[in-house]
Every structure is written in structure tokens, then in C-alpha cells.
């Protein structure tokens, strides 16, 4: 398929996943902010700073707003701000625009679903959003994302276009999960010494909820929450759909299906990354240092994204690639 088309679909998908993850993360932050909280030593670990730190948007935020960090400002910035390209609003808008240009490629039901999402979102955003309770808005965003995924899974032909849509979802999910885990983990557990110790139930519960893993944790471990188990669940377990391993498994499968003689490198990088997670042991992760481990994962994901761009989405051709195609006639 046309590279530009694949690029549009990949990013449509990434934007939707980003909107969903942002909604989830902000919702948890909001709920946690309603509980009593011990003020951290570092200013960056302040409740409402965390979403900004996780997404790397802190400097954008401070460029726009001087003065105190407030919940309302952060919520507006990350949920509703049209000038913030990663806000929920902007993500849904971008996804809808991409879908619009890809109307011949995605199914009618997919387009109608995302178009409805866009139109309804514009109706929902008004001043009453904050007084009504912004949690309701976040729940709605999550459900619309699930719905779109359902419509896609249920109606779309399993062709290259479908593969790029799925690829976008998993690349974004892996990236977001690694970031949330890294930042939240370290605000909750600044010292290695406390790794095996008792922890603040609510705080850890919040971390699990921010990636919809709370119920799964209870099912698997049936015991108190420990940091090491949380990390294992979210990094290594492949039965947990939002874990890093589950994401890399899908990414590797998709790239294997898509690859041909010219594009082995994306497949290779994905395979390497997946093997790390498939054969990893949580004890080794902590020996190396969780933060260092997650930074490495993020770097690999970034390199993989680059290769995907280079080979599929925004290719630049060399003379040797062009000559055989021209000579073919």
C-alpha cells in the first residue's frame, strides 16, 4: 500500500491509544488527588506534575502557564487543550482527520464510529465538564477507544492496512506503559532498599489501575501488592494484555508478517526486543536497575519506530532500490 496511507493509519492508531492512555492516567491522578497524600521531597513528583513528567510535556506546560501548578490547569492542558498536540482532544481530532483521508481504506463503520466520537466530544466539552466530574469524561473516552478497536477488529479486512493499525496501537501502548511504570514507580519507591517491603496500598493500587491491571494482579498473585510483582506483571507477563511483553509479542508478529527482503531490520529489532522480554527474569531486571531497564526498552522502541518509518512509512529510496523496478519494464 502507499507509504503515506500506512503512515496515516499507523498514526491514527497511535493517537487513539494515546488518548485512551492519557484518559486513564489523568483519571487515576485525579482520583488519587482526592486522597490524603504525603508531600514528596521532589517537586516533580507532586501529584499533578506526574502526568506532565510521564508524557514529557512539562516544558510545554510551563511555557504556557506560569505560576502554581493546579489540577484544573493540568487537566485542561492534557485533556482539552487544542494547542497541545498530545491532549486527548488533539489526539481524537488527529485520529479523525487521518480516518477521513483514509476513508477508502478503512471500513465505513470505522469511519462513522470515529466521526461520531469526534462530533460528540465537541458537544461534551463545555464548562460543566469540571463541575459534572471529569471522571465521567475519561470513562467515556476509554469506552470510545474500546469501541473503535472493536469495530476495527470486527469489520476490517486482515490486510496490510489492518496490520499497520495494530502496529500503531502496540507501539504506543508499549511506550506509554514503560513511561508510566518508570515515573510512578520511582515516586512511590525512591530507594532500592524498600523493594521487598510493605508499601502504600492505595498508591500501588493506583499504579495498577492506571494501566487497567488491578484486577489482573489480584487474580494472579492473590496476595499483598509488592513492587517486584507489579513490575513483573506489567513488564514480563504475556497473559496481561497491556504488559510490555504482550505488546512486543504482537509487534514482532506484525513485523514478521509485513517484512520482505527489503525490510528485515524492523523485524530483527522487534525480535531482539521481544526475546528480552520473553526470556527475562524479574530478578535480573532489578539487579540491572528498573529505571535503567525501562530506559533501555524506551530507547529500543524509539529505534524500532525509526526503522518502521524508514522502511515502510516515510521511505527514502536509494538508486539501487529504484533501478531494478525501472528495469523491470
Amino acid at each position: 500500500m502507499l507509504s503515506r496511507a500506512a503512515n496515516n493509519l499507523y498514526w491514527m492508531s497511535r493517537h487513539i491509544e494515546r488518548a485512551e492512555n492519557t484518559a486513564r492516567m489523568l483519571d487515576v491522578t485525579y482520583r488519587m488527588s482526592l486522597l490524603p497524600y504525603r508531600t514528596p521531597d521532589q517537586a516533580w513528583a507532586e501529584h499533578w506534575a506526574l502526568p506532565l513528567v510521564i508524557t514529557g510535556l512539562a516544558s510545554d506546560y510551563y511555557a504556557r502557564f506560569s505560576g502554581a501548578l493546579t489540577s484544573e490547569r493540568v487537566l485542561r492542558f492534557m485533556a482539552l487543550d487544542a494547542a497541545n498536540s498530545s491532549s486527548i482532544y488533539s489526539c481524537v481530532q488527529s485520529a479523525r482527520e487521518s480516518a477521513r483521508t483514509m476513508r477508502g481504506v478503512i471500513t465505513t463503520e470505522m469511519y462513522e464510529d470515529i466521526n461520531d466520537w469526534w462530533l460528540e466530544m465537541r458537544n461534551r466539552i463545555d464548562e460543566s465538564l469540571f463541575t459534572r466530574g471529569i471522571s465521567e469524561f475519561f470513562d467515556w473516552v476509554k469506552m470510545r477507544s474500546h469501541q473503535f478497536r472493536g469495530v476495527t477488529f470486527g469489520t476490517m479486512l486482515r490486510d496490510e492496512a489492518y496490520q499497520f493499525i495494530r502496529l500503531g496501537t502496540f507501539m504506543e501502548r508499549a511506550d506509554n506503559t514503560a513511561r508510566i511504570l518508570d515515573v510512578k514507580y520511582h515516586t512511590l519507591l525512591p530507594s532500592v532498599a524498600e523493594v521487598g517491603g510493605s508499601v502504600d496500598y492505595y498508591q500501588w493500587g493506583a499504579l495498577l489501575r492506571s494501566v487497567s491491571a488491578f484486577d489482573s494482579y489480584r487474580k494472579i498473585y492473590r496476595d499483598t501488592i509488592t513492587p517486584m510483582r507489579v513490575a513483573e506483571l506489567l513488564i514480563l507477563r504475556d497473559d496481561m494484555p497491556r504488559s510490555l511483553h504482550a505488546c512486543t509479542r504482537e509487534i514482532y508478529a506484525i513485523l514478521s508478517a509485513l517484512s520482505d527482503a527489503g525490510s528485515r531490520e524492523p523485524e530483527r529489532l522487534a525480535g531482539e526486543l521481544n526475546a528480552m522480554l520473553r526470556y527475562g527474569r524479574i530478578e535480573h531486571v532489578f539487579t540491572a536497575g528498573l529505571h535503567e531497564y525501562l530506559m533501555d526498552i524506551l530507547a529500543r522502541l524509539s529505534a524500532l519506530n525509526e526503522e518502521i518509518n524508514r522502511h515502510f512509512l516515510v521511505p527514502v529510496y536509494t538508486q539501487s532500490q529504484v533501478a531494478p523496478a525501472a528495469a523491470g519494464r
Binding site: L2, R4, A6, Q321, A323, A325, G328
Partner: protein, 474 residues
């Protein structure tokens, strides 16, 4: 009984229904207004849902607005269609010959049939196309010929559209819509199908591929989703089963055009381009164009890719050149024109200009290179102020205008405002040129929805109807 001012497509002067409308009239008589209203609503809702729209330039909201579709078909007698068919084909044969001639021997200019500066001095004449052999000598692969009917056997060509004519997607969707809304009509009447348009076009495009291309790759080149006719570009690409590309999807290497795909570069042999000449190639034409492909024109001249329509056809659909088409038919084909031109005054000529300025309230004045009904004056419908303002514009640049008498466009029953009333219509059949010249039976009937209005362009509030040509009973 007083002779009606306008020819009505369905009813004769004495109120009797014409034979070709008889079966439909019978059905209409037995159908309630409520039923028609319901069907009209269904059509409107479906069109909006499907998102078949035609963004209106100058509309601030940029909102997609469905083109109004009228559920009463415009039916054409077989005899009339034969004339339209033959006349449109004849025009295209002459126009293709004209284009070949002016880019080669220029015989028609040498013979003094057309003033040389009208052609060579024309903004749309492309000197870059001189002495270049296009495949099959075909310059205009797709044309839209605008025809009005002023009497039972009187047809006038209003203009030829030879660059990037649009509207065929509406023709095809209107037919589908009618079959969906009124299947019973199709079982009672034999309406000649139009579905094969895309197949025919694809065949013609394959036929002009650069020599030696075994299984040619065709692509539709669009300016993109913000172009008002984008829906049509996407629709045709889908119907033909070919890729829809924008300039940025293509690149030229070794004078060969390639598409950027997820499987590497893929060669393109024929491009059905819906981008204007000026924007096709920043290296050859407007350097600021973001819509084109650098090097495309060189690849075209090297014969490595075919463009449909060819570059440089605009000189032939210029409103001033239009006046010479009957002469072209005589000069190249040795035939008399089957369809008449509309008498046209060329305001660059002082006598014509004087006459027109004296008779503005009776005439229709158009910009020589205008389109879509913009920049024109409909004398009888204009206010004193509008006429005066236009007079000033004419005086400033007389050579920019032509004028024609107001034509008595035929009317057709239209379901407007909850009842069946007569509204003015025209017809745009589409002429495809390949190994032969052909038309699918029908075309796009455009209807002026406002009572008494003669302006049918969709961009100015007009609508469309399905057009039926009945297959003759053996």
C-alpha cells in the same frame, strides 16, 4: 393556448405527457406526495451519511454539504439521445484534432480559420507541448460537454470542459440511489445502464500506456482531501481498482514515475490527473506548487508516463476558442456540426463589446476562463447595481469577457418544496476517448433548484437529477 416560454421535458404544449415519460407519469400519478417526501428524505440522509459532498469555496465554515439530489429523473427520448451522442462525439473528435494541430503543424491557424493570437497568445497554450507525440494522438481522454435544450430537437452546447471535468461520480451515485429508492421503476422501464463508465475509462487509460508496458499501472492523482472534488477522485480510483495518489506519493527517477509503497518503489505508467497543469510539476510549471511531482513533465516528454488528460488542453475549452468549434468540425472532419454553439459575442472585439454593454440586462456575460458559474452576470436576474458594477468590470478588461443571449433552458418536473414543479435543467454528458469515442447513456442533469433560476451549478445552489435514456424496444 399560449406557447410556453420553455420546453418542458415531460409535458407537451397541450399538457399531454410525452411517450418516453408515459410509464413514469403513470407511476407518479399513483404515488402520494407523502411517499415522495419520504423518499426524498431517505435520499438526503443517505447522501449525508455516505459523505458525498462538494465543499463550497468561500463557505467560511468549510462544512461538508451534500449536493441536493432530486428524486424525479430526467428522461431523454432515444432520438434526442442519438443526436446528443453523435454531436458530442463529433465535437471531441474535432477538438482532439485541433489540439494535435496547434501543437504541431498549426494548419488551422495557417488557413486563417482561427486568429493565431487567440491560440498562441492564449495563457493556457503550452509551448512545452509543441512537437510532442502523445499516445494515440489523444489529448482529451475525459470531457464533460455542457448542453442545454431549447426545444424538442434544439440543443446548444454551452461549453466544453476539457481539463479536469468533474461530476461523473454524482452521475454514478445518482443512478445507484434511484435504483435503491425506486426499484419498481426499473422493473417497469428499461433504463440503459451507466455502471460501465469506470471500466470504460480504465480500458482507455490502459490503452494509452507507454509502449511495452505489459500490465500497465494506472493511478489517479488528486490534489488531496481539501479539494472540493476529492470525493470523486477517491470514488473513481476505487471503482477502477487503482491507487489514489497525491503528489508527495510519487517521485521521478531516470524519467520514470514511481509510487512510494510499503513494499518499495512501484512504477506508474498512466496517471489520470485531477491536478491542473500549472500545479503538476514545480520544475516545469509553478515552482511554488506543493501538489505536483518534480520531474513529472520530463518523464511525460520522455514518453515514460502518460497523462490523461494531456497537458495544454485548456486552450481548447477557453470560452473564446469555443466560438470556433463549429469551424473546427468543418475544417478537420468536413462535417456540419450536429450540435449548435450558442451565439457568442467576444468583448475583445469593439463592436461586440459595444453591443453587449448596450444590452446587459438581456444577456449572460462570462469570464473567458471562469468556471463553476462564478464571475458571471445573468442580465435578466440581476439588479441595477449588479449590472452597473459589472459594466465597470467589463470596461476595465473587455478581453476577459464573452456574452451570450439568455437561453430558454428546458424545464423538468422537480420535487421541490413538497410538490412537483418545473425547474430549469441542463445536461453534462461525459465523453470518453480511447480507441473510439463513446458516452455512457445519460450524464449528469443539473437542475436550478430556485424557482425561475437559470443557474444550475452546484457551487451556487444547484442540484442534480438522475438522467435516463430508455433502451429502445426491439
Amino acid at each position: 393556448m399560449r406557447r410556453p416560454a420553455f420546453y418542458n421535458e415531460m409535458y407537451a404544449e397541450d399538457g399531454a405527457v410525452y411517450p418516453h415519460y408515459a410509464a413514469y407519469a403513470e407511476w407518479l400519478k399513483a404515488t402520494t406526495v407523502e411517499h415522495l417526501l419520504q423518499k426524498q428524505r431517505e435520499a438526503d440522509a443517505l447522501y449525508t451519511r455516505l459523505g458525498i459532498t462538494f465543499a463550497v469555496y468561500g463557505d467560511e465554515s468549510g462544512v461538508e454539504r451534500a449536493i441536493p439530489f432530486d428524486i424525479i429523473p430526467r428522461i431523454i427520448q432515444p432520438g434526442a439521445w442519438k443526436k446528443i451522442h453523435a454531436g458530442a462525439c463529433q465535437r471531441l473528435r474535432a477538438l482532439n484534432a485541433f489540439l494535435k494541430d496547434i501543437y504541431h503543424g498549426q494548419d488551422i491557424l495557417r488557413a486563417g480559420v482561427i486568429p493565431a493570437d487567440q491560440v498562441l497568445g492564449n495563457q493556457l497554450y503550452r509551448p512545452e507541448m509543441r512537437e510532442f507525440e502523445v499516445p494515440g494522438d489523444i489529448y482529451v481522454h475525459v470531457a464533460g460537454v455542457d448542453i442545454v435544450r431549447t426545444g424538442e430537437n434544439e440543443f446548444h452546447v454551452l461549453e466544453d470542459n476539457l481539463r479536469t471535468p468533474s461530476g461523473v461520480s454524482y452521475m454514478l451515485e445518482n443512478r445507484r440511489m434511484m435504483m435503491r429508492l425506486f426499484p419498481e421503476l426499473f422493473s417497469r422501464m428499461s433504463v440503459a445502464p451507466v455502471d460501465h463508465y469506470a471500466d470504460c475509462l480504465l480500458d482507455n487509460l490502459h490503452a494509452v500506456a507507454p509502449g511495452g508496458a505489459g500490465s500497465p499501472t494506472v493511478a489517479v492523482l488528486t490534489p488531496g482531501p481539501y479539494n472540493s472534488a476529492y470525493f470523486e477522485h477517491a470514488f473513481l480510483a476505487l471503482q477502477m481498482g487503482v491507487e489514489l495518489v497525491e503528489g508527495q506519493d510519487l517521485f521521478v527517477a531516470d524519467n520514470t514515475v514511481f509510487m512510494r509503497t510499503t513494499r518499495g518503489p512501484q512504477r506508474v505508467d498512466v496517471i489520470y490527473r485531477r491536478v491542473d497543469d500549472d500545479f503538476l510539476d514545480p520544475l516545469a510549471f509553478r515552482p511554488d506548487s506543493m501538489l505536483g511531482v518534480p520531474g513529472l513533465f520530463a518523464a511525460y516528454r520522455a514518453g515514460r508516463v502518460t497523462l490523461a488528460n494531456a497537458i495544454g488542453t485548456g486552450v481548447a475549452d477557453d470560452k473564446a476558442t469555443y466560438a470556433f468549434v463549429p469551424d473546427m468540425i468543418r475544417f478537420y472532419l468536413g462535417e456540419e456540426p450536429i450540435l449548435r454553439n450558442v451565439p457568442t459575442w467576444q468583448l475583445r472585439k469593439p463592436d461586440d463589446c459595444r453591443y453587449v454593454l448596450d444590452h446587459l440586462p438581456e444577456l449572460v456575460v462570462k469570464e473567458v476562463q471562469g468556471s463553476g458559474g462564478y464571475g458571471m452576470l445573468v442580465g435578466p436576474a440581476a439588479s441595477r447595481e449588479e449590472i452597473d458594477a459589472f459594466r465597470t468590470r467589463i470596461r476595465a478588461r473587455p478581453d476577459n469577457y464573452i456574452a451570450q443571449p439568455t437561453l430558454a433552458l428546458s424545464t423538468c418536473p422537480t420535487f421541490s418544496g413538497g410538490g412537483v414543479t418545473a425547474r430549469h435543467v441542463d445536461l453534462r454528458p461525459y465523453v470518453l476517448t480511447g480507441k473510439s469515442v463513446s458516452l455512457v447513456p445519460g450524464g449528469l442533469t443539473r437542475v436550478a433548484l430556485r424557482e425561475g433560476s437559470l443557474i444550475v451549478n452546484s457551487s451556487q445552489g444547484g442540484g442534480t437529477k438522475d438522467t435516463w435514456v430508455l433502451e429502445e424496444q426491439c
